[in-house]
């Protein structure tokens, strides 16, 4: 299994040598056929599931930037998602803005909120930061739940679907193209960030704050930047969620349980590992959906899974695979050197 993945990884690497965007374009084209494939084999409902997977991929990838790269424990991410969703929904419904305008505005609002959620990180660390962000995230949900203008207990209904000219994107498989494009772009940029000086600064902060600061990294600034970038992802996912058919959102979509599910995705996939987060998002969303008849036991099982993961596989699926790839490369390099000298 692992040797298959390492072969796959090196195949992608050789593709990337031709042009660095080539693997992305190929993946994108292949994914364009996915809705047809899913409809033919499983039925249309599963396209909707794929759409939700894409949303959670965006959320998990964004959370990975602040938690995985930068090491800041945040439990307020779902609150940002809620802000993105409600802002875009209200702008579209009350002011008649098209999706293409309401979504960027929602992202902008979410960024400001992300800055607020990030502020405690300048002073607090670890569990204390988790508590502070939890409070902020949960207060967003409660605010939505008690304010009639934000939907309160009935939720916001009849949120208009995005349109291109006269065409309305309201079927599941057409909406898939939208969310999948967003997810692919999101994943791509998270790689760009990881490999830049900004990504290295994030990781340095995660590893050792003091060593990072004497290396010339403006620690508070980069911490806030990580929160703001993750807020862009959350805001985008939120806006896409709000306009997704059937165009309905309710504050129950933004509970702490959802946040825990999101954390489970990131932990299962491997904290700080981008593909791990993607795999985690897909696996957890699908399992969550397929076991919803047993919803009573879900939180229990998810909790136990989380504990076992942290104890036995702290680096998640992605971490295990990454280690295998690194080890293989190291061995190959040394074999080459030995051949060269002998």
């Amino acid at each position: 299994m692992i040797s298959f993945i390492t072969n796959f990884a090196s195949a992608i690497e050789s593709l990337a040598k031709i042009h660095r965007l080539l693997p992305w374009v190929i993946a994108y084209i292949l994914l364009l056929f996915l809705p047809n494939l899913i409809t033919a084999t499983f039925g249309e409902y599963y396209v909707d599931l794929a759409n939700r997977c894409c949303l959670f991929i965006l959320l998990a990838v964004g959370l990975n930037i602040v938690k995985g790269f930068c090491g800041q424990v945040t439990v307020g991410h779902i609150g940002l998602y809620a802000i993105g969703a409600v802002t875009s929904a209200l702008l579209a419904q009350n002011y008649g803005l098209p999706f293409w305008l309401s979504a960027p505005l929602a992202i902008l609002v979410t960024c400001c909120a992300g800055l607020v959620v990030g502020l405690p990180s300048v002073r607090l660390e670890g569990a204390y930061l988790a508590l502070a962000t939890l409070g902020l995230g949960e207060s967003v949900r409660i605010m939505i739940a008690v304010t009639p203008a934000l939907g309160s207990s009935t939720g916001i209904m009849m949120i208009p679907a995005p349109t291109i000219g006269d065409y309305v994107i309201e079927s599941f498989d057409h909406y898939f193209y939208l969310v999948m494009t967003a997810a692919i772009i999101g994943i791509y940029f998270s790689f760009v960030i990881l490999n830049s000086s900004t990504g290295r600064a994030f990781k340095a902060i995660r590893e050792d704050v003091i060593a990072a600061s004497v290396s010339g990294i403006n620690v508070p600034f980069y911490k806030l930047l990580a929160f703001v970038i993750s807020a862009i992802y959350a805001g985008l996912a939120g806006a896409l969620f709000a306009h997704m058919p059937p165009g309905y959102l309710h504050h129950n979509n933004f509970t702490v349980i959802e946040m825990v599910t999101l954390l489970l995705m990131v932990v299962l996939g491997g904290i700080g590992n981008i593909w791990g987060g993607v795999v985690g998002a897909i696996v957890v969303t699908v399992i969550y959906d397929q076991t919803k008849d047993y919803y009573f036991y879900q939180p229990l099982i998810f909790g136990i899974t989380m504990v076992f993961l942290v104890v036995f596989m702290p680096r998640g699926i992605g971490g295990v695979i990454e280690q295998a790839i690194v080890k293989r490369k190291f061995i190959e390099k040394h074999e080459e050197q030995n051949l060269g000298t002998s």
Partner: protein, 267 residues
């Protein structure tokens, strides 16, 4: 003019004066030793100078013509001051190459927005930086380990990497906090050779805290001695070796026989 100058540098933690009123001048191009018994304030001195701690009011630190007394650590680093830590503080989950690249952070030639968009200029600049950093790793002898996590290096290699990360900043002044701690005497000599090699190659000024006096005496041009947070002596190695206050600080004060007898009897 001195590259680093402190005047009346003080820091207290609660009632404890870790550093009090230290005046120190480091001349450019020299290797300056800082010695003293445990708890004499050497590490605190480093932490104050590099901005990890904020000094008490009334202190004054000047570096390369800038007043850095109230600057934060990253601002001081950007002016060209690098340091290593006694406990290394490597970024252990990042690769060896990434560690030195973080050291080079201040020299990044592109802006933050550009780095988020991943323009071709960013990729080009990163590629150049990578080559430069591999060159540095080659010099300190870690080029073969560039792609493995820093946490998997051996103790001696970690010390080298900590040094490499500091050098990657292309600093004017390099502060070394016990570079030889935990190394065998042979390896300490090798390390000092590397340090002197780096000093020549990158035209550095070095301040070194070290407990192995042999090393300090043989490499430093000037030595300052701290005891209980105060500077008790300063000068070339020969002078320090024979300084009465220094010997007392290290070995304790000599007492006349009858005073000792009285102390033992509790009188």
């Amino acid at each position: 003019m001195a590259l680093l100058e402190t005047r009346g540098l003080s820091k207290s933690f609660g009632g404890l004066k870790a550093v009090s009123g230290v005046d120190l001048k480091v001349q450019p191009g020299t290797v300056h030793g800082l010695i003293g018994p445990n708890g004499s304030g050497k590490s605190t001195f480093f932490n104050l100078v590099t901005g990890v701690y904020q000094p008490d009011p009334g202190s004054h630190i000047e570096f390369d013509g800038h007043d850095i007394t109230n600057l934060q650590a990253h601002g001081i680093a950007a002016l060209g001051m690098a340091r290593t830590f006694q406990l290394l503080r490597l970024f252990s989950e990042m690769t060896v190459l990434e560690n030195v690249m973080v050291g080079n952070h201040c020299k990044t030639s592109y802006g933050i927005v550009e780095s988020l968009l991943g323009t071709s200029r960013v990729r080009q600049a990163d590629q150049n930086m990578k080559e430069e950093m591999l060159d540095l790793l080659e010099f300190i002898g870690l080029a073969n380990f560039a792609d493995i996590p820093a946490g998997e290096l051996s103790g001696g290699q970690r010390r080298l990497l900590a040094l490499g990360r500091a050098i990657a900043m292309k600093p004017k002044l390099l502060l070394l906090d016990e570079p030889g701690a935990g190394l065998s005497p042979v390896n300490v000599d090798k390390l000092m050779e590397t340090i002197l090699g780096l000093k020549e190659r990158y035209e550095l000024t070095v301040v070194v805290v070290e407990h192995i006096l042999k090393v300090v005496m043989s490499t430093c041009e000037t030595i300052s001695v701290l005891d209980h947070g105060q500077k008790i002596a300063e000068g070339p190695p020969e002078m320090i070796k024979n300084d009465h206050a220094v010997i007392e600080a290290y070995l304790g004060r000599e007492l006349p026989d009858d005073e000792i007898r009285n102390a033992i009897r509790g009188q």
